[in-house]
């Protein structure tokens, strides 16, 4: 092995590091350590001049190991690795000591001890760097197809963008219709008809590049970036494309069920069209509730119905995946009389009531008696911005703002007020945050329209009850005027927040992606990498990543499609072989490593009595290595000796 020639570069990060850590003292200390040829400190190592400093030293001083003591490697490791490559040495002859996040920022008031810690971390890094080996790359082909999971606003947008770029897309949707929550809405803020937007979205699905799979779920998902395999099961809809929507089947179906999509406000049949503007425009049989009477079969002139259809299993190969599974509306758990009083509804239910294709054909009526309400109260921030566990809910805290609700509430309040100016509309709010373009104007219009705004403090939330004469009443303390108000109302609308879907965990485990604290899928970096996940080749778009309105969802979905397209266009992906490797001389074929590998990347060759690593499947976690009783399996770049070198240097000698 060539003798290590180490260069150490200590970054000031402006004053972020140098304001706490004595960088000159650190540099003087590391200069004297074994194998160190040069040690320098500089104001911003990640800047171009900083990188040039490293590159020049590599050439002039013949350095073969580089240490940068600066920020987290999660931030700039790739930056420096590229610099090494440009200077002609293997990018894995590099090690970072994190003296910003783990030192200067965490020990602001202890400069001396922070300086000592920085020295220790760099000493450990040098010890490891001396034992590093070059890592080679492997190029693998990318299957030029994508899988998009969930056909709501985000999914359709992403699928369409990819299709426009010429890539085949499998768009997998759990429901029998597409459009997600958009399909349930009446209007979007600033008077955009939701069904118009839905239509323009569903038109995009006519491109032959998009294979829409309704009623479908991914049941198995394996492979690696560029080469994923998905097994999709498509449940039958029992009605085929010959359906001409005549509706006769529905008339003769004897089964009546509460319509789930209208929150039980009306009934539907076992054979039904989910929504009048559903896409695909084909009826569907709710087989769980069908009694198999066959009336529909007899009346259907096109022979479109077959009650014996079987589920289909579809295997697809894809290079990239975009997860666009969306959100669930928060379901109030008894707060504000929800569930107890029929006329306390959520805002999504109101959208159905106001919608022309809803249960009352767009006429605002109360669920209890079907009369039009004169006094309507909206209560905002239900299931959003919960700071602590209040007495009314024992559900997990949703500390976040759901973002869509302020403008959505104002849109509905104004719509009701404009349609019936004699009605009294009360908006009971904690704060109003109408941040997007045009929404501040919407707020002002509401203020001028005669809607009553009542602000409450979170620790004194409004209460909803019925008085002895059966009158629904909201009691609220107006925080601004410091008065208690008792408002008689006919309808209470709870403006529910967005929460992560119930099946988030299923998706997470299947696709090896992570959830953040709020339950939604976690992006790789909030600012720099909001569309990637930590799993390479798997992207996220829309409200599955956090509450979003339609505008933001479309933006993010297009972004995710563009990100996926980078790999699809290239057709190739380069993988660093930071993978497990087997010392065949030492391996006894005990196969303990085979059992711990989560990716089935190690196989036992029974004839040779030793294990073999399938490199493209290996993700380099190293469980095999720590399981091997004799150290015969090692992970490149994380070999025992490389880690132990750091352990041995924990104390200054």
């Amino acid at each position: 092995m060539i003798k290590p020639r180490v260069g150490v570069y200590v970054c000031h990060c402006g004053t972020n590091i140098a304001g706490v850590v004595n960088v000159e003292d650190v540099t003087k200390y590391v200069e004297k350590l074994p194998n160190v040829v040069t040690a320098k400190h500089y104001v911003y190592m990640c800047s171009q001049p900083g990188q040039v400093l490293i590159k020049n030293d590599i050439k002039e001083l013949n350095l073969n190991r580089i240490i940068v003591a600066s920020c987290s490697p999660r931030m700039h490791e790739p930056t420096y690795q590229t610099a090494l490559e440009e200077a002609g040495i293997n990018p894995f002859f590099f090690e970072m000591a994190n003296i910003r996040e783990h030192v200067s920022w965490a020990h602001i008031n202890e400069p001396e001890r922070a300086t000592e810690k920085a020295k220790d971390l760099i000493r450990m890094a040098i010890a490891r760097a001396c034992l590093l080996e070059p890592i080679s790359k492997m190029e693998v082909n990318v299957t030029e197809k994508a899988l998009v999971l969930g056909a709501g606003v985000a999914g359709i947008t992403a699928a369409y963008d990819l299709a426009q770029m010429g890539f085949e897309v499998y768009l997998v949707e759990k429901e029998s219709h597409v459009g997600g929550h958009l399909a349930l809405l009446n209007q979007l803020s600033r008077s955009r008809d939701a069904s118009e937007i839905l239509t323009s979205l569903t038109q995009k699905l006519s491109t032959p590049k998009i294979k829409l799979l309704n009623n479908s779920e991914v049941v198995e998902f394996t492979g690696y970036v560029g080469n994923f395999k998905a097994k999709i099961v498509q449940k039958p809809r029992y009605v085929n494309a010959k359906c001409d929507l005549c509706g006769k089947c529905e008339d003769v179906c004897p089964i009546n069920l509460p319509n789930r999509l209208n929150f039980g406000l009306n009934q539907r049949k076992a054979i039904h069209l989910p929504l009048p503007n559903s896409y695909p425009p084909i009826y569907v049989v709710d087989k769980e509730n069908c009694n198999g009477c066959g009336n529909c079969l007899k009346i259907c002139e096109n022979g479109a119905i077959n009650l014996n259809d079987k589920p289909l299993e579809i295997d697809v190969d894809v290079g990239m995946v975009i997860v666009t599974t969306g959100f669930e509306p928060y379901k109030p758990d008894g707060e504000f009389g929800y569930g107890k009083y029929k006329d306390v509804i959520t805002q999504l239910t109101l959208e159905r009531i106001l919608s022309k294709n809803g249960p009352s054909k767009g006429e605002l009526v109360t669920p209890s008696n079907g009369k039009s309400p004169k006094n309507i109260a909206f209560i905002m921030c239900v299931g959003s911005r919960q700071e602590s566990c209040d007495n009314q809910t024992i559900k997990p805290i949703n500390a976040y703002c759901s973002r869509y609700c302020c403008s959505s509430t104002l849109k509905n309040a104004l719509l009701i007020k404009q349609n019936s100016p004699e009605s009294n509309v009360y908006v009971i709010y904690r704060d109003i945050r109408t941040f997007e373009r045009g929404n501040e104007e919407l707020y002002r219009s509401c203020r001028a329209s005669g809607i009553t705004f009542i602000r409450f403090k979170q620790d004194v939330p409004p209460t909803v009850e019925k008085t002895s004469n059966n009158q629904l009443t909201v009691n609220v303390k107006d925080y601004l005027f410091k008065v208690n108000m008792e408002i008689n109302v006919d309808l209470v609308v709870l403006v529910e927040g967005m929460v992560s879907r119930n099946d988030t965990d299923d998706v997470r485990f299947k696709f090896s992606i992570t959830r953040s604290e709020d339950g939604f899928f976690q992006e790789a970096h909030a600012k720099m990498n909001p569309l990637n996940t930590f799993a390479e080749g798997i992207f996220i778009g829309g409200a599955c990543q956090g509450p979003k309105d339609v505008e933001d969802t479309v933006l993010q979905a297009s972004g995710a499609a563009a990100k996926a397209a980078i790999f699809l266009c290239r057709g190739k992906v380069v993988l660093d072989l930071v993978t497990a490797t087997v010392d065949e001389e030492r391996c006894t074929g005990c196969a303990k490593c085979v059992n711990v590998c989560p990716y089935k990347a190690i196989e036992l060759d029974e004839t040779k009595e030793l294990v073999q690593v399938i490199e493209v499947k290996c993700k380099g976690c190293g469980s095999c290595s720590s399981t091997c009783p004799i150290g015969a399996v090692q992970v490149r770049h994380y070999r025992d000796k490389q880690i132990l070198a750091m352990v041995e240097n924990i104390l200054p000698s």
Partner: protein
């Protein structure tokens, strides 16, 4: 027994959850004792019992092993084996006469910067009470 000394604690973190949690602690300027030195591995499943024992042999007063929460491992099941291995190593420590409390396993997610800082603080306080590693020169 208490002793006036600065415990030296070695931490093994996984790249995806707990190292990111430590980054978040710093990023949020949450202050914690300086006594900890972190070694970043890809997965807590990479933590070999040998690394822990060697850390004590080379003078660490305490060893902290951290990873993603169970069920949340970036490598699906890696941390389950970590738990098994750490428990086994604790027994080994007892056999050689070291307090098993010197070794601690914690699940810290990328969003738990505060927890990271709290665990470090608790650990430093705990080790201070237990005393210096007798193998430390």
């Amino acid at each position: 027994m208490t002793e006036d000394f600065e415990p030296q604690i070695l931490a093994f973190t996984c790249n995806w959850c707990s190292y990111a949690g430590a980054d978040l602690a710093g990023g949020s300027r949450i202050q914690y004792p300086t006594n900890i030195r972190i070694i970043r591995l890809m997965c807590s499943g990479r933590v070999d019992s040998l690394f822990i024992l060697e850390a004590f042999r080379h003078g660490a007063d305490g060893v902290l092993v951290t990873g993603c929460h169970l069920g949340d491992c970036h490598y699906v099941t890696g941390n389950m084996f970590t738990e098994f291995r750490v428990n086994l190593t604790k027994q080994a420590l007892e056999t050689v006469g070291l307090e098993p409390e010197r070794l601690r396993l914690e699940w810290i997610s990328a969003s738990e910067g505060e927890k990271f800082a709290r665990v470090v603080k608790e650990m430093v306080d705990g080790i201070r009470k237990i005393g210096k590693n007798p193998l430390r020169s």
